[in-house]
Every structure is written in structure tokens, then in C-alpha cells.
């Protein structure tokens, strides 16, 4: 025990000396969660729109008002010629262009059908389709109110309407941040523990100090524990920091049990430290370790865990692949704990998967590490 404690003390002394590592450990997670909290949003708001209104009537203005009042659209410019709309789209100053034909008001008033042209910038397919959707809804609403007005005016009767009243559970405001930030907690925990633990071990190889350690009475398992434990502590510290930012700054509700969250973080750390240890056995320099972790672990984990892209939208083969990504289970766990407040009674399959991955990866890495030492 003494040797492990001493290795940990040494590790912390070294971290204290490392002018790059300390800010990385304390500040990077906070900055990351703040940036990602704002940047990693899939909400579509304030879509810039350019308008060519050839009619300039009361009706066309009323129609446009419905767009601006919805909050989804911001009119960035009115143009005098349809060709000028292209420029706005080319320069990405607008995502949507609307062409209201002449006699729009008169035709609407006399009961004839009118077509309004909408052009969308499809370079960002996601935003384009969402904006067209909104636009279609607004237009349908406008059309419906026209019909209703007409009927009331002509016949003095009202027509029955069917509307759906929907309520969203767990994230009633449909805020992207609520969904993304719990994932960021998982991501930061993974990056910190994997990168730092592998770098710390490889550093001993680089400096040749591992050779010196081998001739001391320290046993390999003591060395591994002494090297990994500090990063478990740092990992948990970062979880606390990130949770603090999430709850205080972003007002993200943490509905589930905090002890359970920490316990499951612990399960996930088994996997990440195992991966870190494994990376250290195949890398000679800290730089190699960082690269290996980034390209062979972080990228696939990021894209296949459901953090960035919803797994349900992936083709079946890729979906099958995601079952081999431990982060997938952890993301489900943190999102469930944060937003739904569910406990182990729901999350036990994910917890079990994490435990399995953790034990297997960590013991393989330890075995490989010990073999390399011998």
C-alpha cells in the first residue's frame, strides 16, 4: 500500500510541476462543456430569410408577419429583383429565400389559389429541411385562417377544426443543451482518464524512469495502481466540475440519483483506464499515445456512441457496430439519469455491459502491460 501511495504522491507532485497539464485538467473540461453547451445544438432558430415581395400588399405583409412572429425566421433583407435572392443564398447570408408573386393579395382575396416560391440552401440538408418544414406549417396555418375567415364572412358559420396538442416529456422545452451536455460529461470523463493515464505511463518510458522502477521492490500491479489511481481521482474531480457547470450555468436538471451517477462513472472508468493502459503498451512517445487515443478510440467512440448522431438513424450494420462501443452504454446511462431520472431498475443492462467491457478491457491491458515489462 505504501508503495502505491508514494507513486500517487509522486504523480501529483509531477502534475503540480507540469504547467500544461494543470490547466488542462481543471480548465479544459469547464471550457469544453461551456463551448459544447452552446455550440452542440441542433435547435433551428432565427433562420435568415431573404424576401422578394412583388406584391407589397396588406395580405403579403400579414403573411410575412407570421414568419417573423414565429421566432424561427429572421428577415435579413428585402430585394427588388428575384435574381438578387441568389446572391443572398450564394453568400450564405440567407438560408431561405421567398418569392411572393405580384397580385398575391388580390388573388387571395378573390379565392384563387396562389403559389409562393421558397428556395432553400441545401448545403446544410438538416437545417434546410427543418426550415422548409416550418415554412410549410406557417403557410398552412395562414391558409387555414383564410378559409375560416372567408366562411365566417360569407356564411356566418364556423367550421370544425382538429388540432393536435402535444406535450414533450423529460425535456419539455426541447432544449438541445439538455440532451447534449450529459453526453459531454461522459465524453470529458473518457478523454481525461484515457489520455492522461496513457500519457503518464508513456512518459515514464520516454524518460527511462520505468527501467529504474523495475529494479525497485515495486510490483507491476502496484505500479499500475499507483499510476492509474491519480487519474481516477482527477476524472471524478472533472465530473464534479462539469456537473457544476451543467447544473449552475446551463440549468440542466439532474433528476436521477447522484451517488448512482458516480458509481456508474466508476464502472465506465474501468474501460477508459484499460484503454489508456493498452494505448501505453503500444506507444513509445506521449505524442504517439495521444494520436492513437484520438484516432482509434475517441473518433469512433464519438461518432458511434450516439453522442453526435442518433443511433436509430444509422443503417443496421453500423447500428450493430455501436454495440461494441462502451461509450454508447454510458451515454444512455447519463442521459437517462439526467433527463428521465431513471435508476438501476431501467439501466441495469447498460450497467452490466459497462462492467463487462471494463473488466475485460482492463484485465487484457494489465496482462499485456505486465508481459511488456518482463
Amino acid at each position: 500500500m505504501n508503495a502505491i501511495r508514494e507513486l500517487m504522491v509522486k504523480e501529483f507532485l509531477q502534475i503540480r510541476q507540469d504547467r500544461r497539464m494543470l490547466p488542462l485538467i481543471l480548465l479544459a473540461p469547464i471550457i469544453q462543456v461551456i463551448l459544447l453547451g452552446y455550440a452542440a445544438t441542433v435547435d433551428v432558430n432565427n433562420i435568415p430569410m431573404v424576401v422578394y415581395d412583388a406584391d407589397r400588399s396588406v395580405e403579403s405583409r400579414a403573411y410575412l408577419e407570421r414568419f417573423t412572429n414565429s421566432g424561427y425566421f429572421t428577415i435579413v433583407g428585402f430585394v427588388d429583383r428575384p435574381s438578387e435572392m441568389d446572391k443572398y443564398l450564394d453568400e450564405t447570408r440567407a438560408i431561405l429565400a421567398m418569392n411572393i408573386p405580384a397580385r398575391f393579395g388580390r388573388n387571395v382575396g378573390s379565392g384563387r389559389s396562389v403559389a409562393v416560391q421558397l428556395l432553400a440552401d441545401g448545403a446544410d440538408a438538416n437545417t434546410a429541411s427543418i426550415s422548409l418544414n416550418y415554412a410549410a406549417q406557417i403557410t398552412a396555418g395562414y391558409a387555414q385562417s383564410l378559409i375560416a375567415d372567408q366562411l365566417v364572412r360569407i356564411q356566418g358559420v364556423s367550421i370544425p377544426r382538429v388540432t393536435s396538442v402535444s406535450r414533450v416529456w423529460f425535456n419539455p422545452d426541447l432544449r438541445s443543451a439538455n440532451y447534449m451536455i450529459p453526453g459531454v460529461v461522459a465524453l470529458i470523463l473518457m478523454i481525461i482518464t484515457t489520455t492522461f493515464s496513457s500519457a503518464a505511463i508513456v512518459r515514464e518510458k520516454e524518460a527511462g524512469t520505468i527501467e529504474q522502477i523495475l529494479v525497485t521492490p515495486i510490483k507491476p500491479h502496484q505500479f499500475i495502481l499507483g499510476k492509474l489511481l491519480p487519474f481516477i481521482l482527477i476524472g471524478f474531480l472533472d465530473v464534479v466540475l462539469v456537473l457544476g457547470v451543467a447544473i449552475i450555468w446551463f440549468d440542466i436538471p439532474l433528476k436521477g440519483s447522484v451517488p448512482l451517477l458516480f458509481g456508474l462513472c466508476g464502472l465506465f472508468i474501468l474501460t477508459t483506464l484499460g484503454l489508456g493502459l493498452f494505448v501505453s503498451t503500444i506507444s513509445r512517445t506521449q505524442q504517439q499515445a495521444m494520436m492513437t487515443a484520438q484516432f482509434f478510440i475517441f473518433f469512433p467512440f464519438l461518432f458511434l456512441s450516439g453522442f453526435t448522431f442518433p443511433i436509430e438513424n444509422m443503417p443496421p450494420i453500423i447500428q450493430a457496430l455501436t454495440y461494441g462501443i462502451p461509450l454508447r452504454y454510458f451515454i444512455t446511462i447519463v442521459r437517462g439519469l439526467f433527463l428521465k431520472g431513471v435508476g438501476l431498475e431501467t439501466l441495469w443492462p447498460q450497467a452490466l455491459a459497462l462492467l463487462g467491457f471494463g473488466v475485460i478491457i482492463l484485465s487484457l491491458a494489465v496482462a499485456r502491460f505486465q508481459k511488456r515489462l518482463g
Partner: protein, 308 residues
């Protein structure tokens, strides 16, 4: 307990590089190192010195043969042996981002040394590192780093220390300092085994093993090694030793010819006549030279042994 600190019996080490053929780094070496001596392994780069030292410290296991350190078999008592030895690897391998004190504390703690404060102060004083206790190890000069490393290997009072080229890359003054420290270490009853590429360092040791291509060519005191050299060495002084060497090379009557700074060393196997003849030869070729017989240095012996 016997009087030997290290015994190697028919030890070999074979490395198999993936996809390549086998490399025999150490080839059937038998060796005994006595207590209280300073023993040097000397040889060119790649001779197998480092591999031998690493096996003696238990860093890597031998492919064949048995190793005994401080009377204990390496394959049964590795962890006990580790408490009795100190090892200074070839590269400066301490924690550059820890201070002098922190480095010593760390090695004391992991060796489970209790109440090491007094010994630490002694060692710091001894190595003249006391004024630098709070300095980061990476900010020390090469010589001071080496002394700190030595202090760390001595903190647990080992019976024997293994030093792998401790003075390579250290300036001459620090090298002399280091040797002074080594002799005091030796006086305090600690045996020393070291590998070195410097033959002048080998001359100062109790016994020396000449190593080449994983084998021991010779192992004895420096005096005996030199005395066992049955040859005559002539040192030639002339104006243009390079030219003289070019003229003489491939000639008859001598074994080898080597350039030693601005002099030539020619090894003859026999009579004085051959020496006279060589000088006469040079004179007729237009390079007047003077020569005298000298006692062979370790370097002469070593080069002659290797080139044979």
C-alpha cells in the same frame, strides 16, 4: 553467504525481433564478481554490456544460464535481490519534473526505507548537491544529474550497485569527481559493477572484463590483462603520422598499426629487429621518425584482441 556478489554461469540472451532473425546479445558468459571490488565491463557499443547489466539487475531474464546476486538465485529470489541492489540505467532516468529532494524521497519510499532523512543529508552533502535541494532535476547540469541519480541508487544502502555507462556524456571534471565518489562508495563496503566504453576508467577498476560481440575476451585485473599481452608495442613519433600509417599499412613484420592521437602504435609479435627495420623503411620512404618501446595500454590489448 559466499564472497561473491555476482555469479553468472553460462548466461546467454537472445533477442528475437519480430519478422527478423535472432540476435545473440550475450553468448554463454560465465563470470564471478567479488565482494568489495569495482568491476568494469568494457567494450565497444553493441558488445552486450548493457544487456549483461540489465540481466544482473533482473530487468530482463536470461535466455539461458543462471545468475546469482548476493548469494541468491535470480530466478527464485528476485524480489529479495531487488532490495539489495541499486541500478543506474544508461540514460539519465530520474524525474526531471521533481526536485532533487523529491527524487531522493521517492526512491527511498518505494524501497521502503524508514527514517532516511539522515542518510539523505549525508548523500546530498557527499555529492555536493545540498545547495540544490529545491531545484528541479531537469535544471541540473549533466554531472549533477548523474550524482543525483547515484544518490537515488544509494539511498537504500544496497550491497551492490550496477552502473551502466554512468559517465558517458559527462564533462572530464565531473567525471573525475564521480570517480572520487565511487571510491568512497567502495570504501563504505558497497561493491560496484559498471559498464563503460572508456578504457581509462577500466584501468582504475579492481578487475575488468573485455567484452566483444556478447563474449568475454578476457577478465582479470588491469595489470594482469596488460602483462598477459605477450607483444611489443612501439610508439612512433613523426611529422605526418597519417602518411606514415598509409605507407606502412599492409606491410610485414607487425601485427597491427593504430593511430593514437598524433602517434602511431605498432604491435610487433617478436624481435627488436623488426622495429628497427620499420623505422628504416619509413626513413627511406621520406618520413623520418623516431620510435620507442612502450608498455601496452589496455587500449592496445583491447584493439589487438578484437582485431584478431
Amino acid at each position: 553467504m559466499n564472497e561473491f556478489s555476482v555469479v553468472l554461469e553460462n548466461v546467454s540472451k537472445i533477442f528475437t525481433e519480430e519478422g527478423k532473425h535472432e540476435i545473440v546479445a550475450v553468448d554463454g558468459v560465465s563470470l564471478t564478481i567479488r565482494k568489495g571490488e569495482i568491476f568494469t565491463l568494457v567494450g565497444p557499443d553493441g558488445a552486450g554490456k548493457t544487456t549483461m547489466i540489465r540481466m544482473m539487475c533482473g530487468v530482463i531474464p536470461p535466455s539461458q544460464g543462471s545468475i546469482e546476486v548476493t548469494g541468491l538465485r535470480m530466478d527464485f529470489h528476485l524480489s529479495e535481490i531487488k532490495t539489495r541492489i541499486g541500478y543506474l540505467a544508461q540514460r539519465f532516468s530520474l524525474y526531471g519534473d521533481l526536485t532533487v529532494d523529491e527524487n531522493i524521497d521517492f526512491f527511498a519510499e518505494i524501497h521502503k526505507v524508514r527514517d532516511y532523512e539522515r542518510r539523505k543529508l549525508e548523500l546530498l552533502d557527499f555529492m555536493r548537491l545540498s545547495p540544490f535541494r529545491g531545484r528541479l532535476a531537469e535544471r541540473l547540469s549533466g554531472g549533477m544529474k548523474q550524482k543525483l541519480a547515484l544518490a537515488c541508487t544509494l539511498i537504500h544502502t544496497p550491497q551492490i550497485i550496477f552502473l551502466d555507462e554512468p559517465t558517458t556524456g559527462v564533462d572530464p571534471v565531473s567525471r573525475r569527481d564521480f570517480w572520487k565518489i565511487l571510491s568512497s562508495v567502495l570504501r563504505s563496503g558497497i561493491s560496484i559493477v559498471m559498464a563503460t566504453p572508456y578504457l581509462d576508467e577500466a584501468e582504475r577498476s579492481s578487475r575488468v572484463a573485455l567484452i566483444n560481440e556478447g563474449k568475454i575476451l578476457m577478465c582479470d585485473t588491469p595489470e594482469h590483462v596488460k602483462a598477459s599481452f605477450p607483444l611489443n608495442v612501439m610508439e612512433i613519433v613523426c611529422e605526418d603520422p597519417r602518411k606514415a600509417m598509409g605507407l606502412l599499412k599492409g606491410g610485414k613484420g607487425f601485427q597491427s598499426i593504430e593511430l593514437f592521437g598524433d602517434r602511431l602504435h605498432i604491435v610487433f609479435d617478436s624481435a627488436k629487429a623488426a622495429m628497427e627495420e620499420t623505422l628504416e623503411n619509413l626513413r627511406t620512404l621520406g618520413v623520418p621518425a623516431t620510435g620507442r618501446t612502450i608498455s601496452p595500454s589496455l587500449e592496445d590489448v583491447f584493439i589487438s584482441k578484437i582485431s584478431r
